[in-house]
């Protein structure tokens, strides 16, 4: 069980716990290893980024965002489909990133107060983070020598 302690409308989730969750998903689903890093000093791939996002709505409101360079997204899809990166279509790449984001959100949902609704995943071009809310926790990972970022946002509760 992740060491998360929802208190009223707040959420407390350690970066270690978020990493454990990501490590478990990437390893068991994709047989890919991720390492936690403090910063990424090299240039980002020129091909751009993809951002996957799911919203959680209930007593706690927020979102889980997965930001991934496109070449890594393609490698990830290839691992998921057991195919070569070159064989992956854009739809399959987006499907893979969406499914990973949804899995992160779904596992976090089980730790939140009920009722809680998990949205379907949305995958968009670029480095796109929610305009509103505050970052509760985030981790930076290295996978296949490329950076990967997971951010947990909390949004204000509607009155």
């Amino acid at each position: 069980m992740l060491p998360i302690a929802p208190v009223q409308n707040a959420i407390t989730l350690s970066a270690d716990a978020l990493f454990e969750l990501a490590e478990s998903i990437w390893h068991s689903l994709l047989e890919m290893e991720v390492q936690r890093i403090d910063h990424w000093s090299a240039d980002l791939p020129e091909d751009g980024m993809l951002t996957g996002c799911v919203y959680l709505d209930g007593d706690w409101r927020g979102s889980v965002t997965l930001i991934c360079p496109k070449p890594l997204a393609r490698q990830t899809a290839a691992a998921m489909f057991k195919a070569t990166p070159a064989a992956m279509t854009e739809t399959e790449v987006q499907d893979a990133i969406g499914e990973l984001t949804h899995m992160l959100g779904g596992n976090l949902k089980s730790l939140l107060p009920t009722p809680c609704h998990l949205s379907p995943p949305a995958v968009v071009e670029g480095y796109t983070i929610p305009k509103k809310g505050r970052i509760v926790e985030q981790i930076l990972l290295r996978c296949e020598n490329q950076p990967l970022q997971i951010i947990l946002f909390e949004r204000e509760k509607l009155l």
Binding site: S28, E92, A96, G98, M103, G106, K109, P120
Partner: protein, 121 residues
């Protein structure tokens, strides 16, 4: 033995198929559907012996699919394979007649243990 995999993610349907093979279930006839409505169409034409369904899907969710099957009088072994596994959802699933709920991410061992009770090759 016929098994129907219901998930709106093509990637996840493929992973479930692969994990079934890794778990040692190699002689299944696998059917697929992208949501609950599509699953009903498949079931009306070719009733499977076992259904593995996602929970959250557009058009008709996994739970709505199970409820529709109950209303239509089908008696097919039904289990969820889902990213969400809250106690509330497990309760709803069991109440509707689901036999199991496998949480994503899963392993071949989980499939072998859980599905071994229902798959008879």
């Amino acid at each position: 033995m016929k098994i129907l995999i219901v998930d709106d993610s093509n990637a996840m349907r493929m992973i479930v198929r692969r994990t079934l093979r890794e778990a040692g279930f190699n002689n299944l006839e696998v059917l697929q559907a992208g949501d609950g409505n599509e699953a009903l169409e498949v079931i009306h034409k070719t009733p499977p012996d076992l259904i593995l369904s996602d929970w959250n899907m557009p058009n008709k969710s996994g739970l709505e699919l199970l409820q529709a099957l109950n209303e239509e009088g089908y008696n097919i072994t039904f289990g969820f394979v889902t990213t969400e596994a809250t106690a509330e959802m497990r309760g709803k699933a069991a109440q509707a007649g689901a036999k199991f709920l496998i949480n994503k991410p899963f392993t071949a061992e989980t499939f072998a243990t859980t599905l071994g009770m229902f798959i008879n090759e």
